[in-house]
């Protein structure tokens, strides 16, 4: 049981971080990005390709993350561009369709070009005991990196005026425009940031289990569930929901079986929506 919970926390931290990117894109720009998982996969594939070319893991990972961020920026400038003249529901729905198209295209290209590629960052060394359970070093390092990234993200949004400006657009877009904030600029920043987050999560994930070219939709689905449970537009909600769902997922997987764990997560998400329609810490409409 302890082992499942610990595994769940490792997974949950990562998906909590992953979901912040999705939740920010939605909260800020009304964009549901279904290509999010593919952004993570692209980072992973770039990283493994560079490593195969002979570069050490750290610079390769840095480039991988940068490519993820760049992909976010490119999406903002190209595919998502027509969205910004739309409002409300039309924007959300069209973003769903456009990003789904992007996801399918990226999936197709990756399968065609690198059908067998996958990133697996193996962290050597023996297991370390945590609460009496042996934990792989890869899991611990992945969790450590994730926690640092989360701390950085929370600090950015809480303690810097730029971070507060992003929050102000989520809370009251018209009010933000009145104090001189350009919501488009903030959204561009968030797409860049979320691309980087997706890349980082792909890398830490690959320290625990391989991330291959087909992983994209699975990542998106999990991130989407976490985002909905945490509350669309809430960073702390996404982080909390990630950890809670990660633990539920791990317990369900070990008690019932992996085939049921996603269903159990969907049930947990549905119950959350029934009890709290805006999610755990959602921004009220």
């Amino acid at each position: 049981m302890t082992a499942s919970i610990l595994d769940g926390i490792v997974l949950g931290l990562q998906f909590g971080l992953l979901a912040t990117g999705l939740t920010l894109m939605y909260g800020l720009g009304g964009i549901l990005n279904l290509a999010y998982g593919q952004m993570a996969v692209v980072s992973a594939i770039v990283t493994v390709s560079i490593m195969e070319a002979g570069l050490p893991v750290v610079p390769a990972a840095a480039i991988g993350i940068a490519v993820g961020a760049l992909l976010g920026f490119v999406l903002d400038q190209t595919v998502f561009r027509p969205l910004y003249s739309l409002r409300g529901e039309a924007r959300v729905l069209l973003s769903l369709l456009l990003s789904l198209g992007v996801a399918l295209m990226i999936d197709g290209f990756l399968n065609w070009l690198f059908p067998l590629k996958g990133l697996s960052l193996f962290i050597g060394g023996g297991a370390i005991d945590v609460f009496g359970e042996p934990m792989r070093r890869g899991s611990l390092l992945a969790s450590g990196i994730t926690i640092v990234a989360m701390g950085g993200l929370v600090a950015f949004f809480r303690f810097t005026t730029l971070g507060r400006a992003v929050r102000s657009v989520i809370e009251d877009e018209e009010g933000a425009r009145l104090v001189g904030i350009d919501p488009r600029k903030m959204l561009r920043l968030i797409l860049l940031l979320s691309g980087g987050i997706a890349g980082l999560v792909a890398l830490t994930r690959s320290m625990v289990a391989p991330v291959d070219v087909t992983a994209g939709f699975g990542i998106t689905v999990f991130a989407l569930i976490v985002t909905v449970v945490g509350g669309l537009g809430s960073i702390t909600g996404a982080l909390a929901a990630g950890i809670i769902l990660g633990v539920i997922n791990a317990i369900a997987a070990s008690a019932i079986g992996t085939f049921m764990s996603l269903v159990i997560l969907l049930v947990a998400a549905a119950v959350t929506i029934l009890v709290r329609p805006a999610g755990l810490l959602g921004v009220k409409e």
Binding site: T160, T161, L162, R164, A165, R167, S168, E171, D172, E174, G175, A176, R177, L178, V179, G180, I181, D182, P183
Partner: protein, 248 residues
């Protein structure tokens, strides 16, 4: 010299003509009150100026520059700030953080750093008399204090023109007093031009140098407070009949 020029402004919502050909020059440094019955189009005019709404026809010039179709944040960068009737501070931020956002983003100089933004925020809080509330949460401020916070946030970007939308509604006598004094200080000490929509006629007569009366989206009178209040068209617009003198 005119700081703001409205030329033949018209605004329709569907078939409804809310603003019907408004032409108005606002002089640099004046305090101009815009009054009129409910639904006369007063707030719409302010929204058109800051780009929250787009005029159907006509043009808006600020300091000689055409701003008719600029987005709201650009208008703010050029030097026009607005405070609305219902305060809308960012709820998850402290008083100082709210004003710092205005300082960092409210001016064209985007290189203002974090430190400078906070310093400018403190300065403006001191100016409106909220310095000791800097770390308070928004919920701890009453309506009057929230309006002053919004004024501080608006002023933090050093605008040249300040638009106020019924910022004196719902205040008690002493709060009204301090609001009138503050608006006058904003003009006198910071040299900021003020366009001010108001229902509190006593305040209008005391503070405004010029009053424009709007009715059904048209300007029906323009002049000093006392001449305007005695204008038969104005009395008719307010009372529906020219039977009494509105003398505040």
């Amino acid at each position: 010299m005119a700081i703001l020029d409205l030329e033949g402004i018209e605004k329709r919502f569907g078939g409804l003509k809310v603003i019907d050909g408004v032409t108005l020059e606002v002089d640099d440094g004046e305090i101009l009150a815009v009054v009129g019955p409910n639904g006369a189009g007063k707030s719409t005019i302010l929204k058109l100026i800051v780009g929250l709404e787009q005029p159907t026809r006509g043009s808006i010039r600020f300091q000689g520059r055409d701003i008719t179709h600029l987005p709201t944040h650009r208008v703010r960068h050029l030097g026009i700030a607005m405070v609305e009737q219902t305060p809308r501070p960012f709820p998850t931020m402290t008083v100082l953080e709210n004003v710092a956002v205005g300082a960092l983003f409210g001016s064209p100089d985007t290189r203002t750093g974090e430190e400078a933004a906070l310093a400018a925020g403190e300065e403006m809080l001191a100016f409106v008399g909220l310095a000791d509330r800097r770390d308070d949460h928004i919920d701890n401020l009453n309506l009057h204090e929230q309006r002053f916070l919004e004024l501080a946030r608006a002023l933090a970007g050093r605008p040249r023109l300040l638009l106020l939308d019924e910022v004196m509604a719902g205040l008690n006598e002493s709060e009204l007093r301090s609001s009138i004094d503050l608006v006058r200080t904003i003009r006198d000490e910071l040299g900021i031009t003020v366009i001010w929509i108001e229902h509190v006629m006593g305040a209008v007569v005391e503070l405004a140098e010029r009053v424009v009366v709007l009715d059904f989206g048209r300007i029906i009178a323009d002049g000093t407070p006392h001449t305007v209040m005695r204008d038969p068209h104005v009395i008719e617009a307010y009372l529906g009949a020219a039977e009494g003198i509105v003398d505040a």
